[in-house]
C-alpha cells in the first residue's frame, strides 16, 4: 500500500483538528481537536517510521501518546473546574488574567 495515502490522511486529520481549535469556542471540542492533531502527528510519525525502516518514529509516537494522556488528565480537570465555577465551558469566557 502506498504510504503517501497515510500522510495525506494525517494532513487531513491535522487540518480538521487545527480548524476545530481555531473555530470552536467550547473548551471540550477544542480539546478534542487538539487530540485529533496529536493523533494526526502520531500517524505521520508511524508512517515515516515505516518509510525509513527504523523504529524512531514509533517511539516518538508512544511518547506523544503518553504526553497526550497526561495532558488530558490535567486539561480535563481544569475544564471541569472552570465549568463548575463559571457554569460555562466557553474558552472566551475565561478571561480573568486579561487586562
Amino acid at each position: 500500500m502506498n504510504p503517501t495515502s497515510y500522510l495525506v490522511l494525517a494532513t487531513l486529520l491535522f487540518t480538521i483538528g487545527a480548524a476545530g481549535v481555531l473555530l470552536r469556542r467550547n473548551a471540550l471540542v477544542a480539546f478534542m481537536s487538539v487530540e485529533l492533531m496529536l493523533n494526526a502527528a502520531n500517524l505521520a510519525f508511524v508512517t515515516f517510521a515505516r518509510m525509513h525502516g527504523n523504529l524512531d518514529g514509533q517511539i516518538v509516537a508512544f511518547f506523544v501518546m503518553v504526553i497526550a494522556a497526561a495532558e488530558v488528565v490535567v486539561g480535563l480537570a481544569i475544564i471541569v473546574m472552570i465549568f463548575r465555577t463559571r457554569r460555562s465551558a466557553s474558552v472566551d469566557d475565561a478571561s480573568l488574567l486579561k487586562l
Partner: protein, 655 residues
Amino acid sequence: MNSINSLSQGFAVQADVVRADTVQVVQEASGLFSWTWLLIALPLVGAAVLLLGGRRLDRTGHLIGSAAAIGSFVVAVALFIALLGESGGERSYLVPLWEWFNAGGYEVRVDLLLDQLSMAFVLLITGVGSLIHIYSIGYMEHDERRRRFFGYLNLFVASMLLLVLAADYLILFIGWEGVGLASYLLIGFWQHKPSAAVAAKKAFVVNRVGDMGMVLAIASMLVVFGSSSFEVVFAGAGSGVTTGWLNAIGLLLLLAACGKSAQFPLQSWLLDAMEGPTPVSALIHAATMVTAGVYLVVRSAAIYDLAPEARTAVVVIGAITLLMGAIIGCAKDDIKKALAGSTMSQIGYMMLAAGLGPAGYAFAIFHLITHGFFKANLFLGAGSVMHGMNDEVDMRRFGALRAAMPVTFATFALGYLAIIGLPPFAGFFSKDKIIEAAFAENILIGICALLGAGITAFYMTRVMLLTFFTSKRWADDAHPHESPRVMTWPLIGLGALSVAGGAGLLYIGGGIVDWLEPVTGEEHHDLPLPLALLIALTLTTVVAGVALAWFMYQRRPVPAVAPAGNPLVTAARRDLYGDAVNEAVLMRPGQYLTRSLVYVESRGVDGAVLGAANAVGGLSSRWRRWQTGFVRSYALTMLAGAGLVVIAMLLVRLP
C-alpha cells in the same frame, strides 16, 4: 645639607642672571631664626583658642587675641634685630618645617623664607596689627561677639604672615586664601545686616576671580619649571625660558594681584567691604591685606624683570586704578568709602611703582609701609569719629568736630598731612620717589602719578574739612565725645609713625632702599627734568588740590543732602559704574544662563531621558493590545509561525 646648598646656588644663579652686582645667599636658619614659625603660630593658636573656646572666654578673649598679636610683634622685632646683625648679603634665611606633599615629582615643602622683604612686611603686619588689636578692645567693647572678632583678627594676622613668609607659591596661596577667608568673615562680621553679608560674599567671589590667575600661574610654573618654589622658579626664570611664558605667568600673577589689591578691573569689592567694622577696614582693607598684590609682584621680581609686557600691564593697571580710586574718593560722602577710594588709589601708586621694575620695587614697598601707617591712622581716626557719633558715616552729618575730639583730630591731621605728601610727613618721601621713578620711565605715566597727587590732596582736604572744620551738621541725637584711651593711644602711635615714618625709613642706617636691595635690585634712570623742579611741581599740584577743596567746601555752606552734580560726579558717586558694568556683563547674563540651564536640565537633558522612558512605555502599551486574551488567536499565530518555519525550511532546503 644638600638641598640647602642647591638652594643657595639657585638664588645665586638668579642674582647672576638678573642683577650682576648683588649676590644674595640663602642660608638655613639656625639659632633665633629657626623660631620664625612662632610668628605664625602665636596668632594661629590665638585664633584656634578664641574660636573653639566658647563662651567661657568671652571676658578675656580680647586680651588673649591682643597678646597673641603683640607676642608675634615681639618675635618680629627680635628677628629684625638679629637680621640687622648680619651683613647685607646674608640676611636671607630659609626655615624648613615639613614636606607638604610630593606628587609625581612635584614636591612642595612648607618652608618659611625670612629675608629683607618679608621682614619689612612682618614688622608692618604685626606692628600695625598689634595697634589695631588694642584699638579694637575699645571699639568693639559693646559687641557681644567681641571674642569671635578677635579670633578672626588673629586668623587674619596668621594667614597674612604665612603669605609673606612662604617660600613656595603654593604655600603663599594658602596664606592668600586665608586672608581672603578672614576678610570674608570680618566684612560680614555683622551678619544680621544683609548688606554686610552680601558685601562679604562679593569680596570673596571677586577675589576668587583673581585666584584663578594664581592657580593658573602656579600651573604654568609647573609646566615650565616643574616646581613652584621661589628657589626653582626664580633660578629658572633667567635660564632660557621664552618671554611668552614669563609674560603669561606675569599676567596671571597680575590678575591675582588685581583681585587681592582691588585693582582695576577687580576693584568693585573694596568699597562694599567697608561694611565691616572699622578696625577691619584699617587693618585688612587699608594697611595689609590689600597690599598683598604689591608684595606678590615685588616678590616675583625675577619673573617681571624678564617679562616687559607683563610689567607694562602692571604699570597701566596701576595708573588706571590710581586715577579711578582718586576720582571715586572725591565724590563719596561716606567717610569710610572716601578712604577706601583713597586706598585703591594709593595701591595703584604702589602697583605702578612695582611695574617699573628694579627702579621701582623698593619704592613700592616703601610707599606700602608708609601707607600702612597713615592709612591705618586715618581709618582708625574715622572709626573714632564714628564711635563718638553713633556710628554715623555720612560726612555731611559731621563738621566742626575738632573741638569735641581733639586727639582724634590731631592724629587724623597728621595722617592727612602724610597722605597728601607735604614734607616732612611720611607720604611725601614715599610718593615723591614713585612720581620721580614714573617720570624717569615715561612722561605720560609720570603725569598720571602727578595728577593723582593733586586729586589726593583735593579729596583728603575735603574729608578733613567736612569732618573737622566747616559748620556743625550733626544729627539731633549726636553727642560727639573723645574716644577712650585704649583707642586714642594706638592713634597717637600711628600718628607719630605718619610723621616720622617716611624720613626715618628713607634715611636711617642706609634706609629701606638699601635694605631691600639684595631682594629687589636697584636701577637708576635719568630724570627728564631736574629733581628740584619735579618736587616743586608736585608740591604745587598738591597745594592746588588743597586750595580747590578749601574754596569748594570751607568757603561755601555744605548742604546736608548731596546736591545733584555733573555727570562725572554722578559717575564717581556710583563707583565709576564698576558695579553697573559687572551687573550688566556678568550678573544678569549669569542669572539668565543659570535660569535657562535649569530649564534645559529639566526639559532637555532629563527631558530626553524621561522622553525615552515614556516612548518605551507608550510603545509597550500599544503592543500590549496584540495580546487579546483569546486562546484561538494565539493558536492562529502559532499556526502561522509554524507555517513560516516550514516555508523557511523548504526555501533553504534543509536536509
